[in-house]
Symmetry: C2
Subunit: 412 residues, 2 copies
């Protein structure tokens, strides 16, 4: 029986690595005061029809017995929007994070699977570039917690208002198609990029303007390319965002990059991506400022699939040790009760295994070594009579005869 | 936009409660040396057709674009079986646990939802009643960790071999139907139970025998009711299981109850349920010994839905406090840099929030109180000049002027 394509199994060593990633996400989010939330995997199709147009086709759909169309959530944002609408009394700022399992029906390829986890962190209820800066700070902090440095990754930042204003400014009619091409620019040769633009009815002059615009790396330069209210507002926001990032001492991680677009149409202001410096992978994280259900928010998603590939490449995803600290060796039936008793007491403080396969002494010792337990406790008739047990340090072979109390004290 | 029936949202306070439950499950499983695993939510339909007959009808199904029939997993065991078959080199004992999210398409009712989590703990690769006892010990330990006592719950234990042998012994032809009725006995009046048995062609004498059999509470009594090899083996197993439970000092939590059947046909020996003493709820957990893909195993599932209802009823599911420890108050723009710096340093050790909404001093203080932060750190021009910040204990109002280093030391 085969596993479904684009899904994964997590054996203990895989799950331990995944838990390491989840723990980094969780601990950073909590340290900034974000609270964990979760929603259903099964949502109604209508919820998704409202947001963006790219989603429905790639979504797993099913019809329940009452004829209602359901989807397996491809992302969390519409659920978050629903949860906020449902509970009007929520206090602002709404600072939430989540590690939802999501589903997208697309061909499995490097960095893309049909089942994945996506860390989401959002700050909702108001608009202020201080929040955008904090959100980006959490993403950088996460990367640093994975032992990654400025050499390994950077943040590409843009502002949707600026792009819209610029495209209007050069009189482009097919803004959406051109946006998509610009987003793909890094994956195309210069010539392919130009021809593709031509196919969208972009003329030579406009192409020249686009290429110059995409090369911009400072806020001051941008001002030359936007001349309406929307564009000025975008420049003001971007400038304010960098002002706060500087206060965070994080501006050296960040780079203006007007070529990033993000797939969704709902972004309204800041957009950003966490990107590997070698540009070998897809975006590691991406997000921006949006409005959902009339509520402004800023947030991002960081999927587990690309991140794992990137961490593995950078050798930052080490085997997570999960060894049992103590193995209890029972020499005969008479010592069972005492061994279960000390095991139960020790489990308050550490991991304890005992024989469950009726192994003899030699095999129990071999097993204790195999599972890498640090200590074994040997309990037989002699030990029971003396009310002292043998504590053996597996690495050195050093043995001590200790009372139950003395042993427990060692692991508290 | 409504949530789909039988699904749930977890706002921060709900998720904190759920995390408390997950943490108890995880910490007990780990303390016994069980390792966490996980599998896909999407599995192929065929995987489930092999196991039990009750599953397919209640399962969410979907067909992918290539025409392959998929299901949303209703339980984890078939996935575990697949994972073990895939990896022949796994060392025994295979001690695994998981907290899979599962799906069952049934009418939502008390204790039953369409989306739920089910803690699974299994020990695979061999047959030994020592393992069955350990498995039951983990379930009892979990209940104790939830601050529940002998008064609140007990373990009902039976053995599938004994039941089969007895039903054969009294010459019953419709064993499966009768088994189902016996499983429901607690929910029926005595008269309804009898009439239902009659409808299954069970005669008066057989009914009398069944009622006497179901009243049995000791291994010795059972011996009178079984007279074949299978039955004797069952008695031997049950007797051995209680011998080990006694060694664990847990037999007082356990009760022979031959009326429990468990839904699945794949159990081969021990079967058990964790049950609330008031018999108000469905089984809180259930499991037993089985063979999957030729591999013997013992394990159980404990769903989150009944457990939450039970814990809430027993007032053991308290609000889980998740407050930010420190709130940093910035008096003006000039102190932003210093405030972000100390926040970043403190986040290594605790939860720190800072203003992101451009609130004034009064509003920042009000907010710090609202979110229940223990301390606030006040940073303004004065403080910057002195290179000392005001640390305010929110409850007492007590203020201290301290250097950054002194403040950090307080939270390490």
């Amino acid at each position: 029986m085969e596993r479904v394509k684009g899904t994964r199994d997590w054996y203990p060593e895989d799950k331990a690595k995944q838990n390491y990633i989840f723990n980094v996400w969780t601990s950073v989010a909590k340290s900034f005061g974000y609270k964990e939330v979760e929603g259903p995997i099964l949502e109604s199709e209508e919820l998704y029809k409202q947001s963006g147009e790219e989603i429905p086709e790639q979504t797993y759909q099913l019809t329940d017995k009452s004829g209602r169309k359901l989807v397996l959530r491809p992302e969390l944002t519409p659920t978050i929007a629903r949860m906020i609408q449902q509970k009007k009394e929520l206090k602002k700022p709404i600072k939430w994070f989540s590690i939802p399992r999501c589903f997208r029906y697309e061909s499995p390829q490097s960095g893309r699977l049909r089942e994945f986890y996506q860390f989401n962190l959002d700050c909702l209820g108001f608009s202020n570039m201080k929040a955008d800066a904090e959100i980006i700070a959490t993403a950088i902090e996460i990367m640093k917690k994975f032992n990654l440095s400025k050499k390994d990754f950077y943040i590409r930042i843009s502002n949707r208002k600026i792009i819209s204003s610029f495209l209007k400014n050069i009189n482009l009619s097919y803004q959406q198609e051109v946006s998509r091409l610009i987003d793909k620019k890094d994956k195309l040769s210069l010539n392919d990029f130009k021809s593709a633009l031509k196919e969208c009815n972009v003329n030579e002059l406009q192409i020249k303007q686009i290429l110059k615009f995409l090369d911009i790396s400072s806020v001051d330069e941008i001002k030359k390319y936007v001349n309406d209210e929307q564009g000025s507002k975008g420049v003001e926001e971007l400038s304010s965002l960098f002002y706060y990032l500087k206060k965070y001492n994080l501006s050296s991680y960040c780079k203006i990059d007007l070529s990033i677009m993000r797939g969704f149409d709902y972004y309204t202001s800041t957009i950003f991506e966490v990107f590997d410096s070698s540009k070998e992978f897809r975006a590691i994280a991406g997000g921006g400022r949006y409005d959902v259900a009339g509520i402004p928010g800023i947030g991002y998603g960081m999927g587990d699939v690309v991140l794992e590939l990137f961490l593995a490449k950078k050798k930052k995803l080490k085997q997570q040790e999960e060894k049992s600290k103590v193995y209890i060796i029972t020499l005969d039936e008479s010592s069972l009760k005492a061994s279960y008793e000390i095991a139960s007491k020790l489990r308050e403080f550490t991991t304890v295994e005992a024989d469950i396969m009726d192994k003899n002494l030699t095999k129990q010792l071999t097993y204790a070594n195999e599972i890498g337990s640090e200590y074994s406790i040997i309990i037989g008739k002699d030990e029971l009579n003396k009310k002292k047990f043998k504590l053996k340090e597996m690495k050195t072979g050093k043995e001590q005869l200790l009372t139950e109390e003395q042993i427990i004290k060692k692991f508290v």
